[in-house]
Symmetry: C2
């Protein structure tokens, strides 16, 4: 059996010598190396920005969506959307464990897991697409995937339905980072707060900011207002187009008495929302970009352009304990669990 590198560089075909994520093409040969784990895949949870792009390209047509997805995997050996650069995650069952991982992993054959590394670096074979759940970005397939030694995963808990677990684990980084950042008394704005990652961030923000804090949900339409306010996820609900920085500025000024926010968390997967995030933040405040549609240069030059001394953080999908923190929300809050079951599972 061939020896593999921790990070999976042995799978990279083009260009040679780099890591699997930035690589264009990787090998999806399903013969495992000594430190790899083979997974029988059940469901792909496509990254929201990626799936939106695929749906648009397909004009909403399911057969065309299948064709695009199969094409991506065939060309690149992984489901890395060539337009958005993003992946997603998967759920499946451990089929084989490389001998070099013995004593190093707590997994055994037959365990049901969600991989928490991106599909943009995961060797994948799709034999057949069984079902597309178009509204929740999930695709059931018959296929196999490889998890590298450095790859992170979560065992699917038995007390939470699988699809629900997959849905929330996909965005687990966001609420876990929120939990780390928000302090008592903070004013926190979540842009795209009524979305899948947004509501989890609101929940953690409310919990950490406490009674002396203020949590604001910003969403592009009014339709989620009752859901958010009835669930006590936010103190204020702003309806605004997040790409309209000037409008957002005015509305956030209004609900914060002109003081603006200590922390702004951007969870909205559309382009050109960097400036809204920056203008809504206090000087010396912090912007946390979780949206994969964020442009580095727009953020960097945008802050400089308006002379704003804010710290801007690139959302890291991984932080220690992120799976546990996020699954715990589903146990803690019956209201939120019900919302996620209705909307995303």
């Amino acid at each position: 059996m061939k020896k593999g590198s921790k990070f999976g560089t042995h799978r990279v075909i083009e260009p040679k010598g780099i890591l699997p994520q930035p690589a264009k093409v990787i090998s999806n040969d399903m013969q495992i190396f000594d430190n790899e784990i083979l997974i029988d895949v059940q469901t792909l949870n496509i990254d929201s920005a990626s799936f939106t792009q695929i749906k648009e390209q397909a004009g909403g047509d399911e057969a065309k969506i299948k064709e695009i997805m199969l094409g991506i995997v065939k060309s690149f050996g992984k489901h890395k959307n060539p337009v958005t650069g993003s992946g997603g995650m998967l759920i499946g069952t451990v089929a084989e464990i490389g001998p070099a991982l013995e004593g190093k992993t707590d997994l055994k054959v037959g365990d049901k897991i969600a991989t928490l590394v991106s599909l943009s670096l995961t060797p994948l074979v799709i034999e057949e697409i069984l079902e597309i759940r178009i509204d929740i970005d999930q695709v059931d397939i018959k296929g196999k995937a490889i998890l590298f030694e450095s790859g992170i995963y979560a065992k699917i808990p038995t007390d939470i339905p699988e699809n629900l677990a997959l849905s929330v684990l996909d965005v687990a980084g966001a609420p876990a980072q929120t939990a780390k950042l928000v302090k008592p008394g903070d004013t926190v704005l979540v842009i795209g707060g009524a979305g899948k990652s947004g509501m989890l961030c609101l929940y953690e923000a409310k919990k950490r900011a406490g009674v002396t804090g203020k949590v604001i949900c910003l969403q592009h339409s009014d339709s989620a207002r009752d859901r958010i306010m009835d669930a006590h996820l936010a103190d204020h609900y702003i309806t605004a187009d997040a790409t309209d920085a000037v409008d957002v500025l005015g509305k956030v000024e209004a609900v914060t008495n002109g003081e603006m926010c200590d922390i702004v968390i951007n969870c909205v997967n559309v382009e050109n929302t960097e400036m809204s995030s920056i203008l809504a933040t206090k000087d010396d405040g912090l912007v946390y970009f979780f949206s994969m549609a964020t442009s580095f240069t727009k953020a960097a030059l945008g802050a400089e352009g308006v002379g704003k001394d804010v710290q801007m953080i690139v959302g890291n999908g991984y932080t220690k304990g992120h799976a546990e923190i996020t699954l715990q929300i589903m146990r803690e809050s019956e209201t939120l669990r019900k919302i996620y079951e209705d909307l995303y599972a």
Copy 2:
């Protein structure tokens, strides 16, 4: 005289209602609004990523560089490189101050200033390109520009030569952020440490990390080794290609006894260096991306892909006192001042 908005939105032509930086086209009509400052421009300092792209597109030909630059300003009303999205800054003399700024600004007509907002949002007219200093990204022109009310600037000091001041002010954000981040005892890696922003970062890192810290310069060629080590800017000098994450990982492991770095500052204006930065960082460490060639998704997914719990910061070109901090380095260190005079002024 027409009333302008603080952020310059009144200048935006396409698309309407957004801020000047993300806008495609802005008005470069040199009739000022009531809160604007008119500047007689002397020198443009083109952003390094932008100028590299322009030079490549022109195949190094000066006439072609002029043509490209004039074309950008003619099309967009500002020098925002349509490929890199970045700008640069300028030096010039205050020609007119809008009446609404009276008592609000410390500037007067005739003051020589450097604008510290990006050229990517600055209304600009180039009447003539007088001289291109191709190795230091500086272009002398006859022309005019507009500074908005929110626009930041620095008065050119009298004890530092103009071109030198312009060169270091252009990258003032990087050393100022370094000064804020680095603590005594930290191990700090500066990728592209021998470059214009890199050396300033090394200087601040050495000063803050102190005798118990360790500062490492990583550069693609060995040619700057003597310059860096003779000036005591670093404790270690690594020669490596920053796009080769696997090689960088090994070399940083070697000089840190496998402990890796508390803080990695990326100053190298080439693509695909995100993974080197991430892998060189300790768990719970911090990566500061100052390079405008940084890809948001490559950074976000890269860290997740290798399961690294690191904080990644989008380099903000502005932080309070950044001009003062950076000009002070030129006063404090005769060695560094001499290096910058030789290389960049």
